[in-house]
Amino acid sequence: VREATKGHMSNAQSHQVLTEHESKKILEENGFRVTKMTVAKTREEAVQAAKSIGFPVALKIVSPDIIHKTDANGVRLELSSVVDVERAFDEIVGAARSYNPDARIEGVGVQEFVSDGIEVIVGSKRDETFGPVVIFGLGGIFVDLFEDVSMRIVPFTELDIREMIREIKGYKILQGHRYAKKADIPALIELISKTESLVDRDRRIVEMDLNPVKLLEEGKGAIVVDARIMRER
């Protein structure tokens, strides 16, 4: 996750980091379920988009020059009213300008807010010796603090995917416990499998983060909430 930024810096010429919007478009074309996003250029457009998506929504900055949206204070979650959306729009644009005055701002993405589910991360990176690898882990602090991720080298089989899911220390969280229902493991397997075939097919993809993915309870699927793809120009 962190290396994506470093890679972006050192390979700025040969590599291109796609925006969330562009990344999700690629994912959608490849059969991933993603949260629908509308890029609003004005406050009014944002309100319109929120109404047609349905509340609550999330707003995020859309700029090719801002990779870490949270660092630029460019994300607002769980907005339930027109007033909330208007205020969030103004704050996000203002914050982005002061974070990086030179940043090209394409607008603010308005998207469905998924409150349910467990956050997981699925990612890929091209290793110079072994080719593309795919990682999986629980999202948030699990991946940041504990580096609790498993990895396989492309190509791999469904058996490998099952093993990599079981391999993480936090696997019990997915199995269901007194605070949460069992997560949709078959949907997770399918998501990892789609990631594997995407990075196997498209060798221009150098790195990819699907983070977070909301893994819903059994039978309800998995939704990619945020995504970032870095590829060769």
């Binding site: 290793d127 110079e128 010796t129 072994f130 690898v133 498993s150 990895m151 058996l159 093993e163």
Partner: protein, 483 residues
């Protein structure tokens, strides 16, 4: 039958001669830099070859001498009258290029370059030139900066490593190493423990021949059952993966020690053989995916390999543990969970049989503390009979018996245990891993007795249990893949 390997699985792909078979079994060897000065590599190689090697045609190359160690010497490789399979090169770096050119003219098949001072110190240019020269003529290079090759099964010595001062022991474990010095140490360590190896290969800078190609050869080699690797980094990822997949199909386990886990380790790998190491986590993933057994230490590599080479694979992870020490029982119970093993629940029938063999004050259970051996009327036979009783229990997958007694009187107990283990082998295909925590002399006596019977012997219960866990890891991988 000593193992679960079928002849088919070992010999698959052996129908036609492998392209490296001449390297492992050459008929003519030239030694460039041969002399009688035993402080020099060329002389040591000659001496080991003459002392331990098969009666191949050996041609010393030395422009200043008419003969070396009783063999007629030639001034250049091109002067040798016969065709040459392998040329060993032990001359200073500056002279290597000319030798390689001579080898090409002579149409030698393989060149083993011991000389150092190439890519491992940043000198890529000269190394690339060597490979270009050789490759254009279809000649393969091992090294440079390597410790060569020892094929124990063919009595072929293409190395000058001092491990050859230890009597070579022939066996089913192959070792391929990117570190020449530690590889030589490992070879000697196997032999000192009376554990046989089939081939030792030190790949050095891998300018041409690399680890993957040797693994591929060893998969097809009917003398090799277990492949052990000491790695710093893989040069060609897909090729290595392919070789490892072939090993899975042939059901030949690969055990690896791989350095570079820490940042510091990675730096030293870079300067050591010029290997570019990938991120260690990628290696971990690769090993898991391919059923390659990664161990932390050289001891685990030796001891895991010894178990896999001599014992049938277990069908499960339930162990029966026998010990004259209650503390050893606790120790093993404590580590089992972390190692992925379970303490077996013995059947009622087994418990009754166990009870009948024990001294009165001992309790029939697993892990089993027999309390004492000597002083018991059936001291000589008790442990052996217990092994048999436990091994025949359907709830048990592996038996790990052990002793702490010493002195020559222990030999009788050992002999009876081996007799019981032989019977167990006839009745079941369950591994038995024996440990003997005693003084060095007693251990050494037991070790030579056990090695003759192909039963691995460990110095401590933890080490025996660790070897059991390595065996189970492999068996479990195969079971999952072949479901």
């Amino acid at each position: 039958v000593l193992s679960s390997w079928t002849p088919e699985s070992c010999e698959s792909g052996n129908m036609q001669a492998h392209e490296l078979s001449n390297l492992f079994d050459p008929k003519t060897i030239a030694v460039v830099g041969a002399s009688s000065d035993l402080t020099k590599p060329g002389a040591r190689l000659m001496a080991y070859c003459l002392k331990l090697g098969a009666p191949v045609k050996l041609f010393p190359i030395n422009p200043n001498r008419p003969e070396v160690m009783g063999k007629k010497a030639f001034s250049r490789v091109t002067e040798v009258p016969d065709d040459i399979d392998v040329v060993c090169v032990a001359v200073p770096r500056q002279a290597v290029q000319t030798v390689v050119e001579d080898c090409v003219t002579k149409k030698a098949k393989f060149i083993v370059v011991f000389s150092a001072g190439f890519s491992e110190i940043g000198n890529r240019e000269q190394q690339t030139k060597l490979v270009q020269t050789a490759k254009n003529a279809g000649c393969r290079i091992m090294g440079p900066n390597c410790q060569g090759l020892i094929s124990t099964v063919n009595n072929v010595i293409l190395s000058y490593h001092s491990c050859l001062d230890t009597t070579p022991v022939r066996g089913k474990i192959a070792l391929v190493t990117q570190s020449g010095a530690l590889g030589g140490y490992l070879t000697g360590a196997f032999w000192e423990r009376k554990i046989g190896i089939s081939h030792f290969v030190s790949t050095g800078n891998e300018s041409d021949l690399e680890v993957s190609e040797f693994v591929k050869f060893l998969v097809t080699d009917s003398n090799t059952k277990v492949i052990t690797l000491f790695l710093e980094g893989i040069r060609n990822g897909p090729k290595f993966r392919q070789a490892a997949e072939e090993a899975v199909r042939a059901k030949k386990p690969i055990i690896v020690v791989k350095t570079g886990k820490s940042e510091k380790g990675r730096q030293s790998a870079l300067t050591h053989t010029g290997a570019m190491t990938g991120s260690d986590k990628v290696y971990d993933a690769l090993f898991k995916q391919l059923g390659i057994l990664r161990v932390k230490t050289m001891e685990e590599l030796i001891e895991g390999a010894a178990a896999l080479a001599s014992q049938p694979l277990p069908t499960g992870n339930r162990i029966a543990f026998i010990s004259p020490s209650g503390a050893a029982c606790s120790l093993v119970s404590d580590v089992c969970d972390d190692l992925g093993l379970k303490v077996a629940d013995l059947s009622g029938k087994t418990l009754a049989r166990v009870k009948s063999l024990l001294p009165e004050m001992a309790v029939a259970k697993n892990p089993l503390d027999v309390v004492y051996v000597y002083g018991n009327p059936n001291a000589r036979t008790m442990i052996g009979d217990l092994i048999e009783a436990m091994a025949t229990d359907p709830n048990v997958d592996m038996v790990i018996p052990g002793l702490t007694i010493g002195g020559t009187v222990a030999n009788e107990v050992a002999a009876y245990c081996l007799e019981s283990i032989r019977k167990v082998r006839e009745k079941t295909s369950k591994p038995v891993l024996f440990w003997w925590a005693t003084d060095r002399d007693s251990f050494a006596r037991a070790e030579s007795l056990f090695s003759k019977n192909e039963v691995p012997l460990y110095t401590t219960p933890e080490r025996a249990v660790t070897a059991a866990a390595i065996m189970f890891e492999y068996a479990d991988y195969l079971q999952r893949r072949t479901k």
